[in-house]
Subunit: 211 residues, 4 copies
DNA sequence: CATGAATGAGGATTCATTCAT
DNA sequence: CATGAATGAATCCTCATTCAT
């Protein structure tokens, strides 16, 4: 009865298709959850934006919670990947590299994931298993910045009271970036992103650029 | 013969009682909503913590939304009042006054209204009327800091790229304070609050104190 | 402690006051219930329109049901009283007297009790005791019309298939009168009431007046 | 190979099933709402009679209001359809056709939709959108009777004071029919319906048939 | 008498989740 | 795989009723 041939070729094409499907779902979910928060988004909402039915989502994810977690995870990993790549490609003194990282991070946040970033900040009371995964995500992400920051402190280029505190402040501020810069367009947005970057660099003890 | 004797007296006593009742509700509500967010808190939760029934809440507030809004408003006003008083009582150069304000703000956040600040930051999609009231609250609150910041910039003591951006970063970071410092106890917490204050002061272009 | 003197004078004055109070309540209640129906009117609504609190109503009536019943009863009795008086004062042939009755009935309905009449028609499932009282009210009220109708049939002036059926149709139509004529003003309303009266008279086998 | 085979077929079968389901709900709802009125019927009641859960109703209708409106609409349209068909099939002079219409209308009311008519009469305060739809329903329904009535008036067969008034009285009386004839059984009911029809025909200026 | 306050039992509505097809 | 359908638990909200003062 079944016309399905599980040849490796088919299987892999199917596999790819499946992967894309899931990616699409995760992106959309992250978007929505970031926009309104976990509780305010129903699976119906997600399904609607994807133009499928609620039932379909359950084929890929066992529960709402699993969906958000996966969304956060994928998104966080992609994001961190990009930053890590950028960090490894960028040379120059720590100050310049940190600036590049911050700028890129804010740009990604504002341009690619308009709202999703907030998901990392708000410590919604996840059940234990999820909490762990998210925590480790945050750690890995944080590490990219910490490395540069520590190097700068090591060379005396940066002067800070507490590296951890600086990192926290940076992330808190960057997470709000979409809310501040998102509504702006074109040059105005670019300038806002620039000012935010400059301002955050001051946390390292540098003076503002044009002052 | 004295059928009127209790008109003004009683009325005012009753009035006072009512005011207290409402305050109690508002505080409790702000607490809960701040802890878990609007959607994650049911009126049952609020009622439970107050040891009354859901129905009673509706005697004072027409809807869940009205309750949160009122809670946010009272809380925000009280908070700003305290900061304004502090600002007017504190002398010295802008740097010192700003530091005092930040320190107090963080302290209040961590000690008195654990988590409640998030209500101001997270842009829960309030219906228009509420949004306006909350916005104006935030503005008034922001003003306290802005005044000092502008003064410092005027005297050249502070050097910043953009006053608005600095304010935004400060508030974003301070709003996370309870999540960072809240779990700590005693000296550890005091030190954390201090480091946060010092770090945020760097946004004004000052070098870290003991570096 | 009590300054209350139960002298007959006081008592009767109090009694009168009480009576007026109750009348006011009943009228208002009948109005509201007639307007929107039993279920759609809350005691709060009644209290609001009377400018008292819900609690006060319970001083005079033990329950919502008792209030409506009393409202219907008073209103029905007053109404029937007026019609009975009118019937006994009016002379002439049955046709003329019936026309007078119908006209007066519609006028009262439209002018004095804009909405309350419907209370008699809609057989809301009252509990037994109430049902009986309302039924007997309706009977007494109906009797005024029946007497004249039967007389006319007796003299051969009226020609009908069934007296009961004619009565039912009349009452059904008259109960809708406020909905039809109520919105009209001045002459327009007077004409509408006139046409309704003429039309209903045709149920007795008379030709329309101006035809 | 036939992975598409069931697209149109299935879809239409599913569609039909859905239609039937909705019809079933609508009928049941109209029944209940007609019996007891909008406020006195809970969705639980409707669900119970359908042997499903409240939640299921919300799968088909977004709110209680939408459900009643739809119920009224379907019911009203079906009803009017039947009358219109009857009107177009019936020949003879206006008097005979009007009598047929009235008789059929009352019969439908008493037999098929006991009590449902009240929904059209009682001006439950619907929100504007619903009110319009119901109003137009009533108009269409009224038209069937008006056409015949006007024709009779045109030929001089009917003599009335006001066509509109006659129509209103007819509908008011017919709406009460279920309350009068419903409790009766067999011949008694048939006779009651007959008497009502005869009586209402008198509104056109005809004398009663066998008098 | 009258009021403010509180209650508890419904009733409307939402939504994650399950499942047959 | 995907969908439509159904469910039931939770949640918001209303309201008749009670009661202390």
């Amino acid at each position: 009865m079944s016309t399905q041939q599980d040849s490796p070729a088919t299987s892999s094409r199917v596999q790819r298709k499946r992967g894309q499907r899931i990616q699409k779902i995760l992106t959309t979910a992250a978007e929505l959850f970031g926009e309104r928060g976990y509780d305010a988004v129903s699976l119906e909402d997600v399904a609607d934006r994807l133009d499928v039915t609620k039932g379909s989502l359950y084929y890929y994810f066992a529960s709402k919670e699993e969906l958000v977690t996966a969304a956060i995870e994928t998104l966080g990993n992609d994001w961190t990947d990009r930053l890590e790549r950028l960090a490894s490609e960028t040379g120059g003194p720590p100050a310049q590299r940190l600036r590049t990282l911050i700028h890129e991070h804010v740009t990604i946040a504002v341009r690619d994931y308009p709202e999703a970033l907030r998901l990392f900040l708000v410590p919604t009371k996840w059940p234990e298993p999820q909490r762990e995964r998210i925590k480790s995500l945050r750690l890995r992400h944080n590490e990219v910045f910490r490395v540069v920051l520590e190097e700068g402190v090591g060379t005396g280029e940066f002067v800070v009271t507490s590296i951890d505190t600086v990192l926290q402040c940076m992330h808190a501020a960057m997470a709000q970036a979409p809310a501040w810069c998102g509504p702006l367009r074109g040059t105005a947005r670019a300038r806002a992103v620039g000012e935010l970057t400059d301002t955050l660099m001051m946390l390292t003890g540098l003076r503002p650029p044009r002052a």
